[in-house]
Amino acid sequence: MHEEVAAYVLGVLDEDENEAFERHLDTCTACQAELKRLVEVPDLLDELKHLPSASEDDRSR
């Protein structure tokens, strides 16, 4: 279960897995600490996503 913390912080678990992991998180201090350490990684990965923004409007052709 501990390894799911990465999939959890990225938001890529299925709905039922997500709920099950949150229940695990309620009692697992190791995963709580890991969540805090990893939470900024998806924000940094967002730099690579082609998110819709005004500056990317000219990419459609």
Binding site: V5, V9, L10, L35, L44, E47
Partner: protein
């Protein structure tokens, strides 16, 4: 924002409404600033995400007894999931049509990349193929573990495990480069 609440909670008691209004005062501003970036500055969408995040927080209010750093990490994760769900629903691409395998690390012609985007792309390239691949096929493409497992032809448990070691490795590299704490 409270106008939305009236609609959502017509039948909820005043106590619940009061509690959620408190959560707005405490977390609404910081959450909105954080979420706006991932909604491409779509303010209405970002406000909806904040609202849904705080309603979920209220429904799981035992977690609001955690220490502030953990509450914040949890709220950001709840919000991120809501944004991803929304983006999947809004996607103009039909899900059953497989998009061409564009290189998510490639810089589009004419697109300006921020310095941190270049650093993150470099960090991702420094990982092993197995680690980079699961990060690309899940988070960077808005896919779930199950979807990525099917595409990669490996068990979902393997995707989760590789993501765990891959994301930890990525964080270490980013910390060495000075962009992660």
């Amino acid at each position: 924002m409270l106008l939305h609440l009236d609609r959502t909670f017509e039948s909820a008691d005043a106590e619940a409404e009061h509690r959620i209004a408190e959560l707005y005062r405490e977390f609404g501003g910081p959450l909105l600033r954080h979420i706006r970036r991932s909604t491409g500055n779509d303010l209405q969408w970002a406000e909806d995400v904040v609202q849904e995040t705080l309603v979920r927080a209220w429904r799981n209010s035992a977690r609001l007894q955690w220490e502030p750093g953990l509450i914040w990490a949890w709220l950001l994760t709840v919000a991120r999931r809501i944004v991803i769900d929304g983006r999947r629903r809004r996607s103009v691409r039909p899900m059953e049509v497989e998009a061409p395998e564009i290189d998510v690390l490639a810089v589009p012609d004419g697109a300006e990349r921020s310095l941190s985007a270049i650093v993150v792309a470099d960090a991702l390239r420094s990982l092993t193929e197995e680690h980079r691949e699961v990060i690309e096929q899940t988070y960077l493409r808005d896919r779930t573990i199950s979807e990525a497992a099917e595409i990669l032809g490996i068990p979902p448990g393997t995707v989760k495990s590789r993501l765990y070691y891959g994301i930890r490795a990525l964080r270490e590299v980013l910390r060495d480069k000075g962009v992660a704490g």
